[in-house]
């Protein structure tokens, strides 16, 4: 099995990250923003895994598990917020939440 070069992994990770980031910025629906965040987190995960295998270290996989649990927790909180938002505003438009406007 020929090893995938690290640069390819990193390119994939940055493409995924960019897609997620653009999703966060352009999407109005909060659900999709959360999903885009998941994409970004997974992009980081891919980068960790790739780096871990490139240097033959277990740290990369440890970090990925950490990111995975963090993402699970974040989704739990995020979805709870989402339900509250739906109840209060009858909508998931993130731009409605602009009470901190100066």
């Amino acid at each position: 099995m020929s090893a995938i070069p690290l640069s390819h992994v990193l390119i994939l990770a940055s493409i995924l990250f960019s897609i997620g980031f653009v999703g966060v910025i352009v999407r109005k629906n909060t659900l999709f923003i959360l999903m885009s965040l998941e994409v970004m987190l997974n992009a980081v995960g891919v980068a960790f895994i790739g780096a871990g295998s490139a240097w033959q270290q277990a740290d990369g996989q440890v970090m990925f598990i950490l990111v995975l649990t963090l993402a699970a927790a974040e989704v739990a909180v995020g979805l709870a917020l989402l339900i509250q938002m739906q109840r209060r505003f009858k909508s998931l438009d993130i731009d409605l939440l602009s009470k901190l406007k100066g």
Partner: protein
Amino acid sequence: MMIPSATENVLALLPLHPLISFLLLITFGKRLSWHMAATLSIGAMVLSTVSSFIVINQLSLQSPVLSVDLWNWFELNLTNSSSAKINISFYLDGLSAVMISVVTGIGLLIHIFAAAYMKDDENFTRFMAYMNLFIVAMLILVLADNLVLLYLGWEGVGLCSFLLIGFWYQERANVLAARKAFIVTRVGDTAMAIGLFMLFKELGQLNINDLNESASTLWVVGDEAPYWIALLLLGGAVGKSAQLPLQTWLPDAMAGPTPVSALIHAATMVTAGVYLIARMNGIFLLAPEVMNYVAWLGASTLLLAGVAALAQNDIKRVLAYSTMSQIGYMMLSLGAGAFSAGVFHLMTHAFFKALLFLTAGAIILALHHQQNLFKMGGLLKRLPFETVLFAIGLVCLMALPGSSGFFSKEAIIAQLWSSNTAGPLLWYCAIFGALLTSIYSCRLFFLAFMGERRFDHELQPSSSRLLKLSLIALAVLSLIGGIFANTIEQSLSGVFPSVQSLNMNEPNWLHSVAIATPFVGIVFSWFYFSTYRNSNHGNLNNAAFQDKPTPLVMFCRQGLGFDQLYDLLLVKPYCYLARLNRKDIFDQLIMFSAWYVCICHDVFKSSQTGKLRWYAAAIGLATALLLISLGIESFSLEAS
């Protein structure tokens, strides 16, 4: 340190009695009953009067001066490291003896009158407290041995005058009059303060006796420094004594209660200017031009006020203008160098003008606060007691032979003709003023007391014994005031230098003309004002009693247009400028920094959109920028 003698203690405590009374009255206020408040304030005045007579009795030809140093107030440092001590110390000589006897004696009688007059006022204690405070300030003014202490008393009487004119402060007119009096006298006081600064700069001290002495050794007659200093001091005197051109506040000051008009605006405070000039005679004698100005100011004020008094319809305003004109006589006399005659007229004027004002107060009280002369008439039959007293006052005012006013006024007029700084022209002014005095006095008497009654209400003469007691005492003083002439002359001879007079040949008809003038005025007005005198039911609707003044009379009634002139020249432009500068230009400089902060605030505020996606984008962009710059840096490090 010398142990002060008993008399010195009495002198030192002289202003303390009314001060204690003032503090008690103002502290306990309305909790004191009328009896307690009246006893307290009058008792303090009795103590002051008794002690002033004790100290005056101690003055003799051997020791014509009594002084007491209380404590050191502060020290004034000159640039050349010498310093002048300003002490709280009292100095009693012939001049201040006359003044304290007038202030305490007349003050006592007016306090007694006021206790009866103001009995029903709900702020009686406040009134008596202010009156006592006034006596304190006036005593400090006349007893001060240096000009700073004198200035303290000077401002103190100004303050009390303000407080008492505006005593019934719910009335807008009273408050305006009080404010006017305060501001107009402030103009003079500023001039006087500048005069004091100049004196201190030139002579390095402010002790009155030292000043008069060192002035005569340092300067010669006609020097520039005493000219300016005397002119500035004259400014202060003019403001306080309501002389031209700062006379406009006095008629309006009649808005205050009548005892106030009698005490402050006739007998004592307005004569403070005369006292100041007499006190600083050493400076004034070095500036003959200023003495000449003083004489001319006095003469023009006495004529102007006499003309204005002819047109008044308010009994108190007639008396106010008459006060102005009598003070004009005092100024004229000071300007002519006849200091002791001026001070003597100050004293007799205090007697009879206090009598006139208080009697007018009693009449006004009986007429339910009616002050309009055209609404009086026929009081001769209805208020005989007051009529007799008022007639006594008027006789003194007109200076008919035998009355106290005769002795003092004739003394002034006699010295005018051959004085260095006055002259025949001013003598004619004084004679014409005397003629005017007798004419307006007769007009006042005919309108108020003779003819038929023109008021609707029933009379309510006051039966208060206190009121009558003080009136009778003042009437006696006014009648016999002339007997003090020699005493005063003697006690003042040590204070004032004798002034050289020109050896002009005085025509021998001078005295007879001076004595005859008031009688001419009486005869003239007996015929000229015969309608006022003979009014009956038939001619009450006559035009003479309708008080519809012609423009000329109106012009005179309003004080010959000075109020309008000042309004036009000073008040209106000032108000215009104030309105123009409503958004204060200096304020704008300060507001610029506030504006700058606001701009910054707006800029930063606009970055806080509250939109989550914008924040995310900003974070991403910033991170990208950071990474790029880090990359460039590490690249350039590697390259080097």
